[in-house]
Symmetry: C2
Subunit: 429 residues, 2 copies
Amino acid sequence: MRTLKLTKDSQKNILESLLKRSPNNYTEYESTVNEIINNVKENRDKAVFEYTKKFDKADVDASNIRVTEEEIKEAYELVDEKLLAVIKKALVNIRKYHEKQLQNSWFTTEDGIILGQKVTPIAKAGVYVPGGKAVYPSSVLMNVLPAKVAGVEKIVMCTPCGADGKVYPSTLVAANEAGVDEIYKVGGAQAIAAMAFGTESVPKVDKIVGPGNIFVALAKKAVFGYVSIDSIAGPSEILVLADETANPRYVAADLLSQAEHDEMASAILITTSEELAKKVSEEVDKFVEVLSRKEIIEKSLENYGYILVAEDMDEAIDAVNDIASEHMEIVTRDPFSVMTKIKNAGAIFIGEYSSEPLGDYFAGPNHVLPTNGTAKFFSALSVDDFIKKSSIISYSREALERIHTDIEQFAECEKLTAHANSIKVRFED
Amino acid sequence: MRTLKLTKDSQKNILESLLKRSPNNYTEYESTVNEIINNVKENRDKAVFEYTKKFDKADVDASNIRVTEEEIKEAYELVDEKLLAVIKKALVNIRKYHEKQLQNSWFTTEDGIILGQKVTPIAKAGVYVPGGKAVYPSSVLMNVLPAKVAGVEKIVMCTPCGADGKVYPSTLVAANEAGVDEIYKVGGAQAIAAMAFGTESVPKVDKIVGPGNIFVALAKKAVFGYVSIDSIAGPSEILVLADETANPRYVAADLLSQAEHDEMASAILITTSEELAKKVSEEVDKFVEVLSRKEIIEKSLENYGYILVAEDMDEAIDAVNDIASEHMEIVTRDPFSVMTKIKNAGAIFIGEYSSEPLGDYFAGPNHVLPTNGTAKFFSALSVDDFIKKSSIISYSREALERIHTDIEQFAECEKLTAHANSIKVRFED
């Protein structure tokens, strides 16, 4: 891994390089995606079937697009027993964590006035699960469980099938364990369009979540407004903040755990210790030789891997907040104190045994996290994503009477006389 | 107003007609908006000044784009004292309501494990305030105060100036009272682009909120992902759910309070009483004759005004939830019981003295609300919009040791060996 001195300039250059990975920069695919969306919007099932034939080489029609109970049963027979056991354990942790996120409706009362917020789950959620390069049953759990905990009535899943019309057994098993109601064999931008507008086979949903390739990301952005979406996911990122107390072998292993995701993944160490920088670099080189995804790792480190040596911890923390990484580990003396200064990060892993993959699978917090610096304004996928809040306003006659002239005044200043009239009419007698 | 029987068909047709007003349907302006955005992204201040000259006929440059303290002082001298007094009163109510929305960071502990969520305000927010047809100081308060309450460090406002380079005094006074830090004289899509990417004069922000015309709405959608945005605002809507106990004069006045906003505004009464339907229609006709915005009202009622007579309250409530109106009034016997069945509405006004304009100005809840059926998945603007949550994960060595084989198992099933390695390495001794 390249090692650089952390300066305002190196920080700026790295940030610019990282941001190039944003799905927002792939506008060259926008017209293709818009064409798919418009076709599905207009021709519905017909378009979905055609795209599935074209892109997934699968013959899907109204009779077989929905995964059957038999297919799910079959999946249970095909899936590794050990995987099923660990899915069940992870599920308990994920559900438990997300249950802590549930918000209550609330109201205040004051002399004839009731104000509040009524919390309601959204009715229908759509979860996209990619097929392709890697099969991630953990992703199914992470996207479905927050919706389930929120109380969403119907959870629809779309995922591409193989040319044989089959969906990965582990995906089906994870979906079934998490409580997905309906699963459809459709992938890509066509799946997003189908869930946004509805087709004869695929129901329209209110919110679409889940990771996907650039076509899926652009399709989600395009349908935003017709439905709600989660954030637009970019490639994986890890940023480790470490001082001389860190174990270089652990730091190296954790950096590589994200670097292996894909060639666009980013792995950054920011450290106050030149010695640690050197040792981590050596450990990385050793690990890369023995890891199965060596080629991907080498490319992602070359593209977006950095070891940055900072003057002091304050400078390091500034850079951490500026980069706003998806995953962030604090491996320093007094890591909880350092945590109080971290403003921007999707997930913060504290201490040397809080290795990032712990959060990917098992601990409970969601692994769907803001990438590409968007942790400055987006949060992990959560129960919040599947609820909405309606304002509640109730005034008694007496309460309105006390302030009615104020409102009339305000309305008249804004030249909205029908607004003023609606208050006046109640006190015209 | 036209009166129809509420049927599945009439409901479907009305919904389709309402949804035509969505900013998503104005794709013909997308290329213009994208051109403006790209120009501002590339040429920054230069582009902003040129568009301001072109669209607002104002000579704005680096020396005068930012509103000065003198200009704000001058605004205080120009603004109606009564308006200032009511702004100050409203501000107290709005702040108080939004303070109830503040969320705490939280954590759980369990035998070597700490999990939680750290709540942090976003650092910089941008508020767009339209000029044009109507001046809305209330809109300034509603957009700025949630950010202020959330703890946003820097709040930037953009609003177009007149050809004389002046901003409406009431806008400046409201902004100053609400605590805006910097105000810039720039409007339209160019203002959104300036705040999304930053120029020499206008700072880049993390989130952009605020209403605007179709160019502003499309620009917000286009920059989503680079920054966060609030929902994409469509025209105003009111839906009154009433039975035979409702006062037809009040209902008519409230319908008109939204119909006056613009020609695309929608006003719908759903009632179980044919008699009420008739009387409301008569009262509407009477009011329209005497209201100053008669022409707008007539057009919006013709386009999107409906009185719908339902068979019974259940059918009426189904339609209410399907239409998912921005504003919703319940003027029925036992309105709180009816409220429990309302799933989709931006704001719910309960009882005959809770007239909608009460919420526009004064009561405290936010008037920035989801429109165009998006109350099915979006909420009112709130403190939630200006915070983000970072997951917190901390495991002790013992805690990780208890489950390390589970994680390794999961990672290996997903064929992510570097993930497995990062856990294994901690127990290799």
